[in-house]
Subunit: 259 residues, 3 copies
Amino acid sequence: MTNTADPDLQRVQHTIHAVREQAPLVHCITATVSMGVVADGLLAAGARPMMTETVIEAPTLTTVADALLINLGTLSTDAVEGIPATVEVAVRQDRPWVLDPTAIGLAPVRTPLARELLNSGPVVVRGNASEVLALADQGTGGRGADSSATTDAAHQAALTVAGQTGGAVAVSGAVDLILDGHRELRLERGTPLLTRVTGTGCLLGALTAACAAVEPDPVQAALAATTWMDLAGETAAARAAGPGSFRMHLLDALDEIGR
Amino acid sequence: MTNTADPDLQRVQHTIHAVREQAPLVHCITATVSMGVVADGLLAAGARPMMTETVIEAPTLTTVADALLINLGTLSTDAVEGIPATVEVAVRQDRPWVLDPTAIGLAPVRTPLARELLNSGPVVVRGNASEVLALADQGTGGRGADSSATTDAAHQAALTVAGQTGGAVAVSGAVDLILDGHRELRLERGTPLLTRVTGTGCLLGALTAACAAVEPDPVQAALAATTWMDLAGETAAARAAGPGSFRMHLLDALDEIGR
Amino acid sequence: MTNTADPDLQRVQHTIHAVREQAPLVHCITATVSMGVVADGLLAAGARPMMTETVIEAPTLTTVADALLINLGTLSTDAVEGIPATVEVAVRQDRPWVLDPTAIGLAPVRTPLARELLNSGPVVVRGNASEVLALADQGTGGRGADSSATTDAAHQAALTVAGQTGGAVAVSGAVDLILDGHRELRLERGTPLLTRVTGTGCLLGALTAACAAVEPDPVQAALAATTWMDLAGETAAARAAGPGSFRMHLLDALDEIGR
């Protein structure tokens, strides 16, 4: 049984401040196409990015990181080889890590890899509805990076995944759903412009890892990152003339929110 | 014999609308350096990008794409291995694909690869004059990504390439030339600022693929993409203070043109 | 013995003009995450970027470049394999090349690679204090891409490295230190916002290579690039509302400075 609770927004504010104060080093193995916006977004939020993915360097470098993001988008050969050993180090060192199963479903390598990684206990799994459905083996995924299902359709799948990891699951969409085995939160914030800039989903995953570095409760970490991104998106949308200026204002707003 | 025709601008407008309505999924294997601007440009135009390049995933993922772009810039080992099998799937499934032979000429892998790929019938080949000359084995290419020849100098080479593919060839430059075996169009639009931002040529190739997904005539698809980009460039140039703000306004303008 | 000299700012101005006039082609093997901003920054400065890193193409392509940047950030497998042969060609052809030992220290591949590359005589080594200390085997490096030491702490290490290469060393930070075996310059310009955008350090390395293509004195080339970047940063900071708009204004300002 899960209970729907009101989001604890004071604690969200506290987490955002803690990221700015502690400037966590977030090791990101992420889609090549989104590396730039993920790194700029983390820096705008006050965190620090690190992006090495080779198996010969990534596991060693992750020993000094405060959190790890594994995002399966584009998935280079370097990343396929580097991810398992890097996650193993994070687990051994008790560092929080976040799984973003970008565009799984049809993809023959990342789909089984994502399911296998659930056994290594990501504190948060963040994806869109299609990706969470595919992760729970209840759907064939979306087309490309976009979801073809609603957040509500992925509710049962999210519970299944949370049951496997023991952590939180965050389903992003027009409605954001965050849950673990005990609690359940829904947010209806943000802006459709977030879907008009590449890598904003990847950045949300990275921001979730930054928040998990300073906030031990996975549901609260996911809530803080999602709220941060949604509010920054709303602020940016009010200032933007289109997707290009929205991207710029989004980075400015990540730096402003909650100050 | 070719005839110079007036561009059919009403049909260009129709193609732009169709991209926005149908939001084609465009699979791009492209230069690493330009992935970000290509993805953001496609999203601004209303299309959807997908960027996987490994041979173990790209051929499978391209089965759900509406069009494919192969751009040979930077050319990672993953891309060298992934491109032939991915093009083969696109051809087998009768999906339009566009070849952008970026920086061929001197490069020992991409130059023969580009010539070999002509046999797989790209609906449009888009390049600058030096690249089209090198493709037709009539020149040694430019230096880096820039052309060292004028559009007119590549006219015969463009005809030769069009004869090989049976599709259209678009030569980009201060003057844009678009032709197939029967028709020939020239545009003199755009702005030199387009050469001051990385990846705008790659983005034009991706936009051409997006247009080819909704417009079966290759010449019209190339014309629509070129016009879209040139007009967006002109709009952005009027608003920009330099290359940084031009890049932002270009993305906004891609979203605005023809609405 | 080294003498602290006043920076020759007229010669800096001359170098900036020469980059704009000659538009040097700068071959960059650099961190994947920073490729976009490095390419856009070089274009804004009036230079031209080229970014191929595979061993099957990079050594050939570097034969037409005017300068080479080797940056060890992220360091893909393609780059690990491509760097030694590419540097060898640059040395053989007497082209200036710049080494940016990003995030060395803990990293098991790039750290010995950086030290080995010192034997190939980079005209300038550019890094933060932690990186220069690690290069001289006097420290364990920073965490991620950030320095955990001050510029002054790296003074002796910089002299050691300069002694090994016979070229210049530029230590970037709140205070910038540029020296060779004979001269020593300090700058205290720029803005902390430069640390809030990914890849600005990588861009400074690339700009140094562009300047080295037109200015034979390594100390002057490093001084010109550092001054250019610092002044552009100050101009951009005065206009920016946050790190997103700062990034855009920085590119505009690189195009403006010294005109």
